[in-house]
């Protein structure tokens, strides 16, 4: 229940967030609270504002109004993308964006959690633990034999995994994943679900997804977005039986 310091104890806190593009409200008084260690899935029709919500949290888009707080108190609307990333929020994009010219291992190395200052990066030498970490993540995402291949040569699904691997390398406290299984086969989707459940054990994860089978598999609390605000929230079964949700999304 709301008390006078409602953000306290949350890892992500959005309240009354509005974003408009040329008068069109992509987010309209959106409020959402994610607890530390929680996994949350966000669903909703195309154009509901799911990606825009992630843009707001990661500093890509400034909201017209509303509060966006990290860890109960850090105002994210005042920080830029790099500062927010260094605070501990990582993101996987809807359209997989890996660095195509760099190898798979180099992509992971760039994501590695370490001092990201310019001079520190110039003189960076990987320690043996850091190399082990890259090797371990390569194994986790199943790309060990692709390590020295340019990322541009990977298949769509492999790029998705590489991006997830980059999130693992960053070792963030909050992960935002925008449609992580789009374009994956059923088997790949199942593997991704297992991986995410594993990852979610010690951090907060927000997953946007259209694939209802995948959402069910994650078994997390579901938030339904529609026209920029929350239409319903709760366990999947409850949400699925909500007639408004069926009308705007599931029943299409």
């Amino acid at each position: 229940m709301l008390d006078d310091r409602p953000a306290q104890g949350s890892i992500l806190y959005l309240d009354g967030v509005t974003v408009s593009f040329d008068g069109f409200k992509a987010l309209n008084e959106l409020s959402l609270i994610v607890a530390p260690g929680e996994m949350r899935t966000v669903i909703g029709p195309n154009g509901a504002g799911k990606t825009t919500m992630m843009d707001v949290i990661t500093g890509k888009t400034r909201p017209d109004k509303g509060d966006v707080l990290f860890d109960g108190s850090v105002d994210l609307t005042r920080l830029d993308e790099a500062q927010i990333a260094n605070l501990g929020i990582g993101r996987k994009f809807q359209k997989p964006t890996v660095f195509e010219m760099l190898t798979v291992a180099e992509n992971l190395e760039l994501a590695l959690k370490c001092d990201r200052g310019t001079l520190a990066t110039l003189f960076f030498m990987a320690t043996s633990e850091q190399r082990d970490r890259v090797a371990a993540v390569l194994g986790t995402i199943g790309l060990r034999d692709r390590a020295s291949l340019p990322a541009g040569r990977l298949s769509h699904g492999q790029k998705q995994w590489l991006e997830i691997g980059m999130l693992l390398m960053q070792d963030q406290r909050v992960l935002l994943l925008d449609e992580p299984v789009a374009g994956m086969t059923d088997a790949e989707t199942e593997q991704t679900a297992e991986l995410l459940l594993e990852i979610a054990r010690d951090r907060s994860v927000v997953v946007v997804e259209h694939d209802m089978e995948f959402v069910r598999r994650l078994g997390a609390r579901v938030t339904v977005l529609h026209e920029g605000s929350v239409l319903a929230e709760g366990p999947l079964e409850t949400v699925q039986n909500d007639h408004r949700v069926i009308e705007v999304y599931l029943g299409r």
């Binding site: 990661t58 890509k60 830029d80 993308e81 790099a82 990333a85 260094n86 990582g90 993101r91 994009f93 964006t97 660095f99 195509e100 010219m101 760099l102 180099e106 190395e109 760039l110 994501a111 990201r116 200052g117 310019t118 990066t121 110039l122 003189f123 960076f124 030498m125 340019p150 541009g152 040569r153 980059m166 960053q170």
Partner: protein, 379 residues
């Protein structure tokens, strides 16, 4: 510094060091020896050719500096001629002041053009330029300062692509107009010339010309290794990542602004040093060095050689300027058409320049498909 040094030297890369050593021997031992042969000898490299090579080496350094930001970070500066000219002016100011009382008007401190303009005393910004080391510091500091300010304003506002190119063109154009004005105190239209000596060495002596050529070759080698170190580091991979997907880099926690600014400032310093080595060899610096067309020409050298490689800009600078020297002798009116045509051909037919063509030919010989990616990242 141990591991850093070992990476700078990257001893394990035998092929690179063999090539680097061979070019070094050619430039620093073979050319001077052939220059020492008696004038009539068939293999003699005449003094004018040494100076011409020295000029090309400075152009190669300028092209290399542009490639660091354009080829690796995707920042197409069309104002690198300005950094080159500023370095040149700083060196020119030192050489003007070291003329001392030997000028036409015989004034002890004022350069001839100031006496001509009836100036009574040296402007404050000419102070200190009687010292070579002060001038050398300015060769580095002035381009670095300008690059820092322009880069900071542009990168912070996330100005990229063609807008950045236009801003840098405007920068060099504005400087050209400013330096054309007599009141600026840099010799106006005529610029700085009639230099006599550098560090006490008589600039008209062939041995001194050979020395300047040698300094240019050594500097190009050092700059090449510095660029190789940057490009081969994790920062180099961040630069390439910025080139491919800048916004993604920010979400990983790197300040793309700071990284690009770093590369831009280093690049401007290298361009300034190139200008400082160039001016004593050609004996003049005037505002036309700031002309926007000059900066565009540098981009053409890089494109012809192959951007995103370290060898490319060096080859491109030699190839295009060699062609220019030849053609402006044979049919000067054709040069601009040839340059324009070359640019179109390279853009359409050889997007990876000479270096890309060479790699393609090598792969064809081996009967393997051309890798689109790897070769781009090797020097």
């Amino acid at each position: 510094m141990g591991p850093v040094l070992s990476r700078l030297l990257a001893i394990d890369d035998r092929r690179f060091w063999l090539g680097f050593g061979a070019v070094g021997i050619l430039l620093l031992a073979v050319v001077p020896s052939l220059n020492a042969l008696p004038a009539g000898h068939a293999l003699n490299v005449p003094d004018y050719a040494v100076t011409l090579l020295g000029k090309y080496l400075c152009y190669a350094l300028l092209a290399l500096s542009l490639d660091l930001v354009w080829g690796f970070a995707g920042v197409l500066s069309l104002g690198h001629g300005a950094f080159f000219a500023l370095g040149g002016y700083a060196m020119g100011m030192y050489m003007m002041r070291s003329i001392g009382g030997r000028g036409v008007y015989g004034h002890a401190t004022l350069p001839d053009f100031m006496v001509f303009l009836n100036w009574q005393e040296l402007p404050w910004y000419w102070m200190g330029f009687d010292s070579f080391w002060f001038a050398a510091a300015m060769v580095v500091a002035v381009p670095a300062g300008l690059a820092f300010v322009v880069g900071w304003l542009a990168f912070r506002s996330r100005i990229t692509g063609v807008y950045l190119s236009i801003i840098t063109q405007a920068m060099t154009y504005a400087l050209m107009l400013a330096f054309f004005r007599n009141e600026m105190g840099f010799g106006g239209n005529n610029g700085l010339t009639d230099f006599k000596e550098l560090l006490g060495f008589d600039l008209s002596r062939p041995g001194v010309k050979l020395g300047l050529y040698t300094a240019s070759a050594v500097m190009l080698g050092v700059a090449f290794l510095v660029c190789r170190f940057i490009v081969g580091s994790k920062l180099g991979r961040v630069l390439m990542a910025i080139r491919d997907a800048e916004s993604r880099v920010r979400f990983l926690g790197y300040s793309a602004t700071a990284v690009k600014l770093f590369a831009f400032v280093i690049s401007a310093v290298l361009a300034g040093i190139a200008g400082a080595l160039y001016v004593p060899q050609v004996g003049i610096i005037n505002p036309s060095e700031f002309s926007p067309a000059n900066s565009i020409e540098v981009a053409i050298w890089v494109a012809v050689g192959g951007r995103g490689t370290l060898l490319g800009p060096v080859l491109g600078a030699f190839a295009v300027n060699g062609a220019k020297t030849w053609l402006t002798g044979a049919a000067p009116e054709l040069w601009l058409f040839a340059l324009g045509g070359l640019f179109i051909v390279v853009t359409l037919l050889m997007p990876k320049g000479i270096v890309g063509l060479a790699a393609q030919a090598r792969e064809r010989l081996r009967g393997r498909p051309v890798p689109l990616i790897e070769e781009k990242r090797n020097a």
